[in-house]
């Protein structure tokens, strides 16, 4: 089953963990066959939000809500169950600076 591990960090901690360490962590997951995809993200002030209302596209700067922690990156993993997913999430280096939200992926019903 797939789980998306969303990494949240405060603005001033975005670079608290060296890139090298995050890359190594991803490579380790890939080698164990756990990783589907992983990316780090640019800071939230580079974000643009798109909405479509009554067929009209609206574009605004930034995310919808101001929160202290921002989405800093993600790891999409394939784990047996939540216990394995949580063990993997605990190994993501920024977990010790911010937090990692583990969300099960929902299969779309065609």
């Amino acid at each position: 089953m797939k789980y998306l591990c969303l990494v949240y960090l405060e603005q001033d901690k975005l670079h608290a963990v060296p890139d090298r360490e995050c890359a190594d962590c991803g490579a380790g997951f890939r080698q164990s066959g756990l990783l589907v995809a992983a990316e780090a993200l640019q800071p939230v002030d580079t974000a643009t939000t798109v909405r479509v209302r009554s067929g009209k596209v609206s574009i605004t700067d930034g995310p919808f809500a101001e929160t202290k922690e921002q989405l800093a990156g993600f790891y999409l993993i394939d784990a047996v169950d939540l216990n394995e997913a949580l063990q993997v999430a605990a190994k993501i280096p920024p977990a010790r600076e911010g937090s990692v939200e583990v969300r099960p992926v929902r299969e779309l019903q065609p």
Partner: protein, 415 residues
Amino acid sequence: MTATDHISETVSAVYVSESRRVLATLIRLLGDFDAAEEALHDAFRAALEQWPREGIPANPRAWLVSTGRFKAIDAMRRRKRFDALDETGNGADLAVIDHAAWADEETVEDDRLRLIFTCCHPALAADAQVALTLREVCGLTTEEIGRAFLTPAPTLAQRIVRAKAKIRDARIPYQVPAPADLPERLDAVLRVIYLVFNEGYMASSGASLTRHDLSAEAIRLGRLLVELLPEPEGRGLLALMLLHESRRTARTSTSGELVLLDDQDRSLWDRALIAEGIQLVEQALASRRVGPYAIQAAIAAVHAEAPAASATDWTEIVGLYDALLRLDRSPVIELNRAVAVAMRDGPASGVELIDGILAGGNLRDYRLAHAARAELCRRLGRTAEARAAFRRALDLTQQEPERRFLERRLAELPA
């Protein structure tokens, strides 16, 4: 009494003694809480129909499990057939269930432990862990749990539904944790059991000081856990609960007022519970993996062994609090230690320690810190200070018998 009455009584008795074990196994075999509950009810319905005709099976539990599983598979097949009218159904799930090993006795033994660990999984909200454990492991109805926790039944039902959905959708596994995770996961289970016990024993708010049913459920859970997983901390917690429980009758007066440990009629203490508690403490302490529950139980055991309050071995108790503080530097434990020191060395040294703890700031709004300080000041004849501290404790308490107790103490102070 007719033969049918006799059978239905037997079925009721089997329900009480076996339904939770049957449910725990059905959850494993069917991989789903709701399907297992439905199967459990179908199995008991079948027992009521068939046992009067065919006699009571030699192993009622195995009969119920295989009947429940058969009924569930049957129901699933029927649903599949309906689905197949719309599109070609896929029988993969059924194949899995059909080949699920209908297990040997030893695996079956483990199922209730699996159920306990799943209900107390840390990925579930704390209040959901409690509700789910009482519902699934203890078999309480949502109405019963609601009454015990002063929470509306629909709120609890919703918590349970949400927790079950998370177990299913996030795939929380139905298993006893691996040895590496066991200590931490066991802590979560013990916390749930102790919370249930305390809710029954202390009732943090509301008019009734004890809600016996919850404490009894917690002790039942504790016994089950020790039987299935004989870990020292499980024994420690069971001992702690039994030793507290032994004083239940003595801790409230006939008019429902709170009676402090010092003033309790020790002849009312339940000696059988004390003996059992002490034996468990000794086993836990002998394990050399001594945890906080075992130490707290050891403290309760020292009280239990004292023939009179004045004969309490306070030196031993202070030593045990020191050991407890080494595991957990909690200000509440420091406060309890301060009271023990006051009993050993006199009230003045206790007040000094409590003032130090209050100055630390953590317990400034903790009613028992002010109540303890008030009591010690009273003994020292520092009446004005005692009065102020009792008033502060009164402001902070939310529990009716405790409020009456503090008011009484306040009124008894010399003018």
